[in-house]
């Protein structure tokens, strides 16, 4: 019974708060019974502490444990994996709190609490989450300090102060460790999985789908350029290509008889010929160097400008110049790319199987479009003339760019080209590619993002509403050439981005963007928040091997292991020495009163004037010393001494500010008298 008092009451508050705070994020996202469990435990605990209820016996605890495990199993279907594991640990954490009796239980509980804090960071990664977890850390550390200071005189606030001081002192070393401890590759893969599907590109495209994307202003990725960024009309972020059309839907496809490894090079094994010829064509052309920080998309494809080259670490390059990650992107992912448009020259041959695929069309359907293409085929011998004819067609006929096109059914291409003539990029790209294939020009649809906004001149934000689709056609002698039929209809979409295009057109679709154009202040605020978030992504979340190498190179002038090891050792030693000196040798461990400070000031001032007082001199001795050495200053010294003694010995009442000021004036008068 008495064992309950092993945890001092002044520490229990922090412990309870720490437990609630550490569990809260999981309670918000986990099943409801978890919150009920914690409430039950808190209530029970409160009653135990008021001695209304006994601590639960072994049987009750066992029953609760079994029930918790069963409920976790029921909710998640398993006990391992991040989701279920976090839920289980959080529940066990609550149960442990219920059986808290001895100091030992409290230790285990608190150390477990640190672990629970870490599980929070699995699912929340913003700067806010980090701040929140720091708060939990403070509470847990305060409870740790509390259970180790079982003096009844201890105050609650004291523990938090202790914890804050300790954590504050620990922070510099933590930062050094963060920078210098090498990030190694994962020992085994632990996919987070289970994430919600996010808005983004999908494997297939049937006109009408991208419009739903366009309404989202969620971030897709950010790009940080080394050197000047390309002009807006060149910012075509290729994500995936669609080469198969079934009459309504475009989808990805491989040429007949080809296997995955024929179209994708992951950087392992001998480089295929197509990759070697791309590399040869790249030569040492400048191109664009940049780093993309992608938001989780739950998809494997990555976005880059044509033709992207990377270190192929964790990703591969596809034959159609796309980057494909080895795993679905389920956390923010940063990767460096060197894009060289000139490397297009390295792909000047089209194999027969590829050509067949790029010319393939469904058996029937869309007769009017086929007839129009057939007419161009007969009229122009040259493929590029056929492309121009199609673009001219879009330009001359009354086509409109709009985000709210009428619905199409049946022969969608015919319906769009000869009927509605209203649509957005998907409609144009789809119809254009269809026409080209029908006219005998190999063509494919490319989906990705176009444009992006610069933030603070430092990086480019590409949002979901920048999603775009365009076409690429094969021209002999030139290889794959990008053609954007949307640009023929609405050049401002390409030049200004979607926001600019809509503002200029005065299209009512502005509302679809949440009215961000109309509230400049809010927009500005959002840019700032995004800027903060970008730097967080870049320096904290995205601080991986490559960035670490770059930073080491800058800080240490090299990345050899001994250099980093030495830097670690040196910074650890410097940290220990500085902190040790600060903690152990600080002269003022005991706060001194203003009066003592005044006394020491005079004493030091006298010492500078060769009037060194003995170690334990009183105010009277100080004054006597002055009077003996400089009789002219005796009066001033007496004045100072009088006031000092009056303030020091009059009793409980501490000196007021005005009195201290008067004392300081007398000290200065004394020092002036010494000068004369």
């Amino acid at each position: 019974m008495a064992r309950i008092y092993q945890i001092p009451s002044h520490a229990r508050t922090w412990l309870t708060l720490g437990i609630v705070a550490a569990s809260l994020p999981q309670l918000l996202r986990g099943p409801l019974w978890q919150a009920a469990l914690l409430l039950l435990v808190l209530g029970w605990r409160a009653l135990i502490e008021r001695q209304r209820l006994a601590s639960p016996g072994r049987l009750v605890r066992l029953a609760l444990l079994v029930a918790t495990v069963a409920a976790t199993w029921r909710s998640f279907g398993r006990l391992h994996g991040p989701e279920a594991g976090t839920a289980l640990i959080t529940s066990l954490f609550a149960l442990k709190y219920l059986e808290l009796v001895s100091k030992r239980d409290a230790y285990v509980l608190i150390v477990l609490g640190y672990f629970v804090c870490a599980t929070v960071l699995l699912f929340y990664r913003g700067p806010g989450a980090a701040l929140y977890v720091s708060g939990c850390l403070l509470l847990l550390t305060a409870s740790l300090a509390g259970i180790n200071y079982s003096d009844t005189h201890a105050r609650r606030r004291q523990h938090v102060r202790t914890a804050a001081v300790l954590l504050g002192q620990a922070l510099p070393l933590a930062v050094v460790l963060f920078i210098l401890v090498p990030r190694v590759a994962p020992m085994w893969s632990m996919p987070l999985g289970g994430g919600q599907a996010r808005t983004g590109m999908s494997d297939t495209m049937s006109p009408g789908q991208v419009s739903s994307l366009t309404e989202s202003s969620a971030l897709a990725f950010r790009v940080e350029f080394q050197g000047p960024p390309p002009p807006p009309r060149e910012r075509y972020w290729r994500g995936l290509t669609y080469s198969y059309f079934d009459g309504t839907t475009w989808s990805q496809a491989r040429p007949r008889g080809w296997r995955d490894r024929d179209t994708l090079y992951r950087g392992r094994g001998a480089a295929p010929p197509w990759y070697q010829s791309l590399l040869a064509a790249r030569g040492d052309a400048a191109g664009y160097r940049y780093r993309v920080i992608m938001e989780p998309s739950q998809r494997r494809w990555l976005y880059a400008l044509a033709v992207p080259f990377t270190d192929l670490d964790g990703m591969g390059l596809a034959r159609d110049w796309r980057l494909v990650a080895d795993h679905a992107v389920d956390t923010a992912l940063g990767y460096r790319v060197h894009s060289v448009p000139a490397a297009r020259a390295g792909a000047l041959t089209l194999e027969q199987a590829e050509r067949d695929l790029m010319l393939s069309l469904p058996e029937g359907g869309n007769p009017r479009a086929r007839a129009l293409a057939e007419q161009w085929r007969r009229q122009y011998r040259d493929n590029s003339a056929r492309v121009n004819a199609a673009l001219g067609y879009f330009r001359q006929r009354p086509f409109h760019y709009t985000l709210q096109p009428p619905r199409l059914s049946g022969d969608t291409v015919d319906g769009f080209l000869f009927g509605t003539r209203r649509g957005f990029c998907e409609h144009y790209a789809s119809a254009f590619t269809f026409l080209m294939r029908a006219a005998g020009v190999p063509a494919r649809v490319v989906a990705g993002y176009q444009g992006g906004e610069m933030n603070a001149g430092e990086y480019l934000q590409v949002r979901q509403y920048d999603a775009h689709a365009w076409a690429e056609v094969w021209l002999s002698g030139q290889g794959w050439v990008r053609v954007d039929p949307t640009g023929a209809v609405a050049p401002e979409r390409v030049e200004l981005g979607l926001r600019g295009a809509l503002q200029r057109a005065g299209d009512g679709a502005d509302a679809a963007l949440g009215g961000i154009g109309r509230l400049p202040l809010l927009f500005q605020l959002r840019q700032w928040v995004d800027y903060l978030d970008f730097n967080w992504q870049k320096w904290v979340l995205g601080y991986r091997q490559d960035q670490q190498r770059a930073l080491w190179q800058r800080l240490l002038g090299g990345v050899s292991p001994w250099r980093v090891g030495l830097a670690l050792m040196v910074s650890l030693a410097v940290f220990a020495a500085v902190l040790g000196a600060w903690v152990l040798l600080r002269r003022r461990d005991r706060p001194i009163t203003p009066l003592q400070r005044e006394f020491h000031r005079l004493r030091r001032a006298l010492a500078r004037r060769d009037l060194t007082a003995p170690a334990a001199a009183s105010a009277a001795e100080l004054a006597a010393l002055v009077s003996r050495a400089r009789p002219t200053a005796a009066r001033a010294a007496g004045h100072w001494r009088c006031l000092f003694e009056q303030l020091a010995y009059r009793g409980e009442q501490p000196p007021a500010r005005a009195e201290l000021a008067a004392l300081a004036r007398r000290r200065r008068a004394l020092l002036r008298a010494l000068r004369r």
């Binding site: 850390l137 180790n148 200071y149 510099p172 991986r544």
Partner: protein, 314 residues
């Protein structure tokens, strides 16, 4: 063997002194069991952070490790600068317990949650604020007569976080005096008085005659205080009795023959106690020391101390 070497090493490194100030030579520090658990969790977080490629979890791990490093300093600091001084001592009979006082002095900083113990006794916890002194009494079993030096005092602290344990083994220059264990005999080993007469039984007041009162002085036996008068508000006085002319007894070591030294001292001890209880004056003669005749608690104390010291170093 190992234990002896350890003790010798301690003796060299931390010699006995009247006052000891704990510094880096005297303080040992090592992670506690919970400290190891804490580090284990930090290592688990490191593995998790690497595998999930989660820099925030890695950051949390680094904060935990740095906190551990910082705590080393603070745990050390909590003991560093603490002074311990040998205080008073309480003697006891051999086979019983004595007590020693240790004074803790906090000079520059607070020392919190210190656990002090020796032997297997439950530790006493104390916190001292800067500029304060605190005294603690420790019981010391007295196995044999003579001067009993205490074992090393273990001063230990886990403040502030309990992840580390810093401790020192302090040897203060102090000792308890163990009086002989009283051994009753029928025959009083004394000369003088009325020759070899039987001494009155315990509890009985002797044949003294009441003479008057005098003001109480420290050292007077409490048995002789005039409590009735004190209750009436006349102040603390001592009743004086006329000493019987021949009542002065000489307890002599030499008179106990045919017994070992400890047995003789035990008998003498018994008679010192008994004669004091009966308010009879006595003198004590040992082979190497003599106590002049006297009576009262202070006299008894002197006699017992003489018995305790006998045969030992001066």
């Amino acid at each position: 063997m190992f234990k002896q070497a350890w003790q010798r090493w301690l003796e060299r490194r931390l010699p006995r002194a009247a006052q000891v100030r704990l510094d880096q030579r005297r303080i040992f520090i090592f992670p506690s069991g919970y400290g190891f658990l804490y580090v284990l969790v930090a290592v688990l977080l490191f593995i998790g952070g690497i595998n999930y490629e989660n820099n925030l979890i890695l950051g949390l791990c680094f904060v935990m490790l740095s906190l551990f490093v910082v705590t080393i300093l603070h745990t050390y600091r909590n003991l560093s600068g603490l002074s311990l001084r040998a205080g008073a001592s309480r003697s006891g009979f051999a086979g019983g317990q004595g007590a020693l006082q240790v004074v803790l002095i906090a000079q520059r900083r607070a020392h919190r949650s210190l656990w002090l113990s020796w032997l297997d006794q439950p530790p006493q916890e104390i916190s001292i604020e800067p500029g304060e002194e605190s005294a603690l009494w420790f019981n010391l079993p007295l196995p044999r007569r003579g001067r009993v030096t205490p074992p090393r005092l273990r001063v230990q602290s886990r403040y502030p976080l309990g992840l580390l344990r810093s401790w020192s083994l302090v040897a203060l220059d102090q000792a308890c005096r163990a009086w002989p264990r009283p051994q009753s005999t029928a025959q009083c080993p004394a000369d003088g008085g009325d020759g070899h007469r039987e001494v009155a039984r315990a509890g009985q007041i002797g044949s003294e005659e009441f003479q008057g009162l005098r003001a109480y002085a420290p050292g007077d036996s409490l048995r002789q205080v005039d409590w009735k008068g004190y209750a009436r508000g006349r102040g603390l006085h001592v009743k004086l009795f006329q000493e019987p002319a021949n009542g002065r007894l000489w307890l002599r070591y030499q008179r106990l023959e045919g017994q070992g030294m400890e047995a003789r001292l035990s008998v003498l001890c018994y008679w010192v106690l008994r004669l004091t209880r009966e308010n009879r004056p006595f003198a004590l003669e040992l082979p190497d020391a003599t106590l002049a005749p006297g009576q009262g608690d202070e006299h008894r104390q002197r006699a017992l101390d003489l018995l305790a010291r006998h045969g030992g170093p001066r």
